[in-house]
């Protein structure tokens, strides 16, 4: 399984996702600088977390117009899976590859803490390592993760099983407190129509090692790598 990690100026969690993929696959993914002439062929493209271009205009807005994104879009259209984590999700939304937008958190503060997620659809290459409805504990670290979309889009996401994860309480139940950033319908991650593009705010890549506070992200990468092999 070959993974390519696209690094923008200001990306800062590329090492974290590289480490998680390396742990599961046994080899380092390829890091591609956003201006590199040719992106190597791969089985997976990852847009990592960070603050691409400082997020100065709007989170993900400038990276979404980086030339490399046309290549990402073309490959996604060919069925190459694309995973956008945190800033990567924001970029996919700004690029129009996923619907909706990510607004500032309800608290208006950057928040780094563990949250609980409910796996809403495990019938995808990304989530097949989990049980449907499983509750997992993973960290978030973002200022703009408050997912929003118009009601029709939200209905469509739900009707078609395109909601990947929702914020929930430790028992898996949806609650005001569990949905810490105020996301519409507690959405933490969504698929595109083909379910081969996933954007999510939480950092599954930071919980793959018991030493570092949890292993609930490991099944995600194991499932994904298994599906792509």
């Amino acid at each position: 399984m070959r993974a390519v990690i696209v690094v923008f100026p200001g990306s800062n969690r590329e090492r974290d996702v590289c480490a998680a993929l390396a742990l599961v696959t046994g080899h380092e993914p390829i890091r591609v600088w956003h201006r590199d002439a040719a992106m190597p062929e791969s089985d997976l493209i990852v847009l990592p977390g960070g603050f691409a271009y400082g997020d100065y205009l709007r989170c993900g807005a400038m990276a979404a117009h980086s030339p490399v994104m046309q290549e990402v879009r073309d490959r996604a259209a060919r069925g190459i899976p694309v995973l956008g984590i945190c800033n990567g999700f924001q970029i996919l939304a700004e690029a129009g590859m996923l619907p909706g937008a990510l607004l500032p958190n309800r608290s208006l503060r950057f928040t780094c803490r563990d949250v609980h997620l409910r796996v809403e659809n495990n019938q995808t290459i990304f989530t097949c390592g989990y049980e449907a409805g499983q509750t997992i504990r993973v960290p978030v670290a973002h200022h703009d993760g408050n997912y929003t979309a118009d009601p029709d889009t939200l209905d469509r996401l739900e009707d078609r099983g395109l909601v990947a994860f929702r914020y929930c309480g430790p028992d898996g139940a949806l609650s005001e407190a569990g949905n810490f950033n105020g996301s519409a319908r507690a959405i933490a991650g969504i698929f595109d129509n083909s379910r081969t593009v996933l954007g999510l705010m939480p950092h599954l890549e930071n919980v793959v090692d018991p030493l570092l506070g949890g292993t609930d992200g490991r099944a995600f990468f194991e499932g994904l790598v298994g599906a792509l092999q």
Partner: protein, 731 residues
């Protein structure tokens, strides 16, 4: 061009030079300085750059050790951590800017300390802070807390370096002068450390990073009518940070450092291009010529004075090996950074600046650096406060007192702060904020560093020497409590006006105490920062020597934290309890008294007890550990319970001391240790001559003290967690 003749002593005084200092500058130059030269002397001889009031005392501090690769004097200290790795770290203050503009002041404080670390060839891997705000009742405090915390987070989160620990205190003495200290820790190869000494006459001097603007020029507008200069409108003296550029600068510098292009490198911090060029030339015993027309500028019409004294952020100066300019240029272009060759190294030993083809300044660097003023300021020791008889304490219900203490500003949970910091990015955070020390993995094999910042200013005020020893001991203890071997520390000396003998006495006493503790604990100081004149309207801050400690763990899997782990385990108190209540939080928060001396610091006991605890952790007998500090025994017990949600049944207090002196006294050199094998631990303590006894058993969901009501851990936690978010939410 030598037209500086109208610079007068009184004008120099406005730049902060005394008459004597001005005369010395004139004698070094052989003529009256022009404005640019005056600005350079004033900046280099400022307290901030010259350490003129503190130098003779700082020299007495222990700075060497078998692991120390580089002590104070460079951008950061460097300590060997084995396997060819080195840890590079320093703490620095950004107090005054943060009070004026809390977000940018704090943000640029983080930016500056990051640059100090990556300048030496280290990848920054952790940030810590130490924050001291005024009284929560002061009208500005809430605004300052909000701004400083979001500024630190805003910068650190964006550059992608985790902020993993720190401390936050409140005291009315900081009402007009908050403290914002930031520490950065980096990781380098021990044989790939980069220094600042210029070398190789003829070598190119390269500027890279953000463009230079008029921000941060102190006193630039003084040069107005009198000099007919075009210094322009008055600008805020607080710089604006750009963490995105910093991130690019980190990556570009580290990429360039993989090769052999760099001869010397220095970031442009305080006094900008002036101090970086002068320090590089001074350390190398060489000269530097700069062509200021080549400096990348953000605005037009900047004078030599403004260019040299601008404190625009995210800029570096480097000296390259000849012929490597093109390679360096390719890397800077990749990272979309401005760069320019702005000068060269010379053999003249002089700093020569040219602008518009004319010489703007010509200063011999040796005397500028070597003849900088050094003062032995008068100082006075304060009388120590009489002791407090614990039997005189009013009897009070200990559980009610505990609840109040846990909800008090000094002890209330600081989660509201550290949840705004990305403490997980880089994927190596083994022990997160909220414990005695953060633990960060530094190798795939599991080698790890323990990191903490500490200070107990009220102790230092009451007895500077004892307080100085205590802060070093507490830092050492916090690292020990997670199982680490303390390696070395960095200090940030925050004090009032050193020209006042009582303030200078606080400084001298604190240094004495720190020295004693560093020697006794083999815990050298490898870098640091001094921030003086922290006072407003004659009211000085509490003396605040902040210690940033770094410890080493061979294997992060053996690190422990303070959360109770298993029902049925015993909890052992290590160290002697004498019921010292002087200067305690109990006295301050419950009795509203700040009387008495701080607790005695027995450095031999610190060493013995700490070495014992670390040994037990390494032997695998310790499930959880916590050092005793603010609030004493019962607060520490409660913190261990709150961290896990597990309860504890305490043994009855020994009858020899009044109950609350035993429960809340702040005797030093103590730890709480959870173990499933109390017999072995107590026996080992006995053999080592360390006081230790079982004080409770883990279980249930309540903290139960015989003779008092039990209280649920949930209720304690609610009290502890509620204060800061509630305070910040109040309009």
């Amino acid at each position: 061009m030598r037209g500086g003749s109208n610079v007068t002593p009184s004008f120099a005084a406005e730049h902060g030079l005394t008459e004597e200092e001005f005369e010395r500058a004139v004698s070094i130059l052989g003529h009256t300085p022009n404005l640019t030269e005056l600005g350079i002397f004033a900046a280099m001889w400022s307290e901030h750059c010259s350490y003129k009031s503190s130098k003779i005392w700082l020299k007495t501090l222990p700075t060497t050790g078998p692991r120390v690769i580089c002590g104070p004097g460079e951008n950061a200290g460097v300590v060997d951590i084995g396997d060819g790795d080195a840890v590079v770290f320093k703490i620095e203050s950004h107090n005054h800017p943060s009070f004026i503009e809390p977000y940018q002041g704090a943000a640029t404080g983080v930016g500056g300390i990051l640059r100090d670390v990556f300048t030496m060839g280290a990848r920054p891997i952790a940030i810590l802070d130490s924050l001291h705000f005024g009284s929560p009742d002061h009208p500005r405090t809430r605004h300052l807390v909000a701004g400083v915390v979001s500024g630190i987070g805003g910068y650190g989160n964006c550059v992608g370096v985790p902020t993993v620990g720190g401390e936050c205190g409140f005291d009315p003495s900081y009402d007009g002068n908050i403290l914002v200290n930031a520490m950065c820790v980096g990781l380098a190869r021990a044989d790939r450390i980069f220094y600042s000494a210029a070398a190789g006459p003829g070598n190119p001097v390269i500027y890279v990073g953000a463009k230079t603007g008029r921000d941060g020029i102190h006193g630039a507008t003084m040069a107005s009518a009198e000099f007919g200069s075009d210094a322009g409108e008055k600008r805020p003296t607080v710089q604006v940070g750009d963490p995105f550029t910093e991130k690019l600068l980190i990556e570009a510098c580290l990429e360039l450092m993989e090769g052999d292009a760099i001869v010397a490198i220095q970031d442009m911090g305080a006094a900008g291009l002036t101090s970086s060029a002068v320090e590089m030339a001074g350390k190398g015993g060489l000269g530097i010529e700069l062509d200021l027309d080549r400096v990348p500028l953000r605005e037009t019409g900047m004078s030599a004075y403004e260019i040299m004294l601008s404190e625009s952020q995210e800029r570096m100066l480097m000296i390259l090996r000849p012929g490597s300019e093109a390679d360096a240029g390719r890397i800077f272009e990749k990272w979309e950074l401005d760069f320019a060759q702005i000068g060269r190294v010379t053999e003249t030993g002089r700093l020569v600046l040219r602008i518009d083809g004319k010489i703007a300044a010509d200063i011999p660097v040796g005397p500028l650096v070597g003849e900088a003023p050094v003062y032995r300021r008068p100082w006075r020791r304060r009388d120590t406060a009489p002791g407090i008889d614990p039997r005189a304490l009013t009897p009070r219900d200990p559980i009610r007192c505990l609840e109040r203490l846990l909800a008090s500003p000094p002890l209330a949970s600081k989660r509201w702060i550290w949840e705004q910091y990305d403490h997980l990015v880089m994927g190596n955070t083994v022990k997160r904020p909220g414990g005695d020390a953060a633990v960060i993995r530094v190798s795939p094999g599991g080698k790890a560093l323990a990191l903490a910042t500490d200070c107990t200013p009220r102790y230092v005020r009451a007895d500077p020497r004892r307080g100085g020893a205590q802060v070093v001991a507490e830092s050492w203890r916090n690292l020990t409590a997670v199982g680490a071997e303390p390696l070395a520390l960095t200090d940030n000396m925050n004090f009032g006006n050193p020209e006042r003998p009582d303030i200078m006495g606080e400084f001298v006493g604190a240094v004495e105490g720190m020295r004693e503790a560093c020697l006794a604990l083999d815990y050298p100081i490898v870098s640091g920062n001094v921030s003086l004149y922290n006072e407003t309207s004659g009211n000085a801050i509490l003396p605040t020597p902040v210690i940033g400690g770094v410890g080493l763990l061979a294997d992060a899997r053996h690190a422990v934290d303070l959360a109770l782990k298993r029902d049925g385990d015993a909890v052992i108190l290590v160290g002697a309890t004498d019921g010292h209540v002087g200067c305690s939080l109990y006295l301050r928060e419950i009795e509203e008294s700040e009387a008495g001396p701080p607790p005695p610091v027995d450095l031999a006991a610190e060493r013995q007890n700490g070495d014992f605890v670390r040994g037990q952790i390494r032997a695998g007998r310790v499930a959880a550990c916590h050092d005793l500090s603010d609030g004493g025994f019962l607060v520490a017990v409660a913190e261990m319970a709150m961290a896990s949600g597990r309860g504890i049944l305490l043994a009855p207090p020994p009858g020899v001391l009044p109950q609350n002196a035993y429960l809340f006294g702040e005797d030093q050199a103590r730890y709480l240790v959870e173990t499933s094998d109390p017999e072995t631990v107590v026996a080992a303590a006995g053999a080592a001559g360390v006081p230790a006894r079982v004080i409770g058993v883990v279980g249930g969901v309540a903290l139960t003290l015989p003779g008092s009501d039990a209280i649920s851990v949930g209720a304690l936690k609610a009290a502890n967690e509620a204060w800061l978010p509630g305070y910040m939410a109040r309009a």
